[in-house]
Point group: C2
Chain length 205, copies 2
């Protein structure tokens, strides 16, 4: 029976993201070591077999926040959605970056915690490389949003953003909106940056 | 032969600190996993047996930056040396804290790296507890150094100091003097804090 209509091809990465959204808080609150695949399955409304379909091992699950493929996807989505703002409305693009970094911190943090518990040699190098790519792009946007800022200003902002992001990764007491608030405070320190220092009513699409 | 004069009792903690000073940079530059006890011994001018005398295992060595005993010792020394300044010269006491936090970041960072490579469940809880104790003490000092600052200001400073310290722990690109510089910048944001915002010519003893 050729030509049979099956279900549409599944968006596996997206499905893994949804599971991660459910499991991340468990890791943050109880740790990766004590987490069982059964608990993770329950939190994701999946059977144990269903969970193993998406994550072949607990290690793959608890370190997913640093998975290369999902970060490429997140960056691609960001670029598709907000990339055009860089030229047309750099201020909105800068604010979009604030949300982007805030979201990334929340996404990665449980995996950093898991890495600290279980050991993950490869983790730091990937983390540093990822942050550097994001920062480069952000500085480019900021140079358009703040034409009065010189190279020194922009480098200083990039350094501060890096610090806020890294601290947010290690600090369970900081919320995503606090990360965003601090990033705005950092930008407002640059000449002309004060007008970037409050959130837009909404990030335009 | 009783009454034989031996060497003075050895200061074991101090000796372990010296070894750590030599080994920490190796961990930061090459990682904990690839480090051999033989390399660590060579960097510390010790025989392999000599190194094992101080550190029974590589794990004990590479996580030493988070050792409870050494941190108690460091805090005690700080208190003995600078504690009296809190009342007599709170501004100098605040600056002493800046050096203290800067030094702690450098001391702990290789162990955080090692924990990320090898896994160290207990690491984060200890780290958070340690930072909180240090911050409490710092805020007390700051309230004396900055009588115009209210509780809200001081809490904000404590939060920012926490961020600078945590980011410094994760970020190999930040130097100890940059950590100190950022801490001064944080303090200078508080009412009356600008006079704390430059380093003293020397930290008085």
């Amino acid at each position: 029976m050729s030509g049979k209509l099956g279900r549409p091809p599944e968006d596996r990465v997206q499905r893994r993201r949804e599971i991660w959204d459910a499991v991340g808080p468990l890791i943050e609150n109880y740790g990766a070591r004590s987490l069982t695949m059964r608990q993770a399955a329950a939190a994701s409304f999946l059977s144990l077999g269903g969970l193993y379909h998406y994550f072949p091992s607990k290690r793959a699950l608890v370190l997913f926040g640093m998975d290369q493929e999902v970060h490429e996807r997140i960056c691609l989505e960001f670029e598709e959605r907000y990339g055009h703002l860089k030229e047309s409305d750099p201020r909105a693009a800068a604010e979009a970056f604030v949300y982007f970094f805030g979201g990334k911190v929340s996404f990665i943090r449980p995996a950093l915690r898991a890495a600290l518990e279980l050991g993950a040699e490869e983790f730091m190098a990937r983390l540093e490389a990822g942050i550097n790519v994001g920062l480069e792009d952000f500085v480019k946007t900021l140079s358009l949003a703040l034409p009065d800022a010189d190279d020194r200003d922009l480098r200083a902002v990039a350094r501060s953003v890096r610090r806020v992001v890294l601290a947010g990764l290690l600090d369970r007491s900081i919320t995503q909106s606090e990360v965003e608030e601090e990033l705005r405070a950092v930008m407002s320190g640059v000449p002309g940056g004060r007008r970037l220092s409050r959130p837009l009513a909404s990030v335009p699409t």
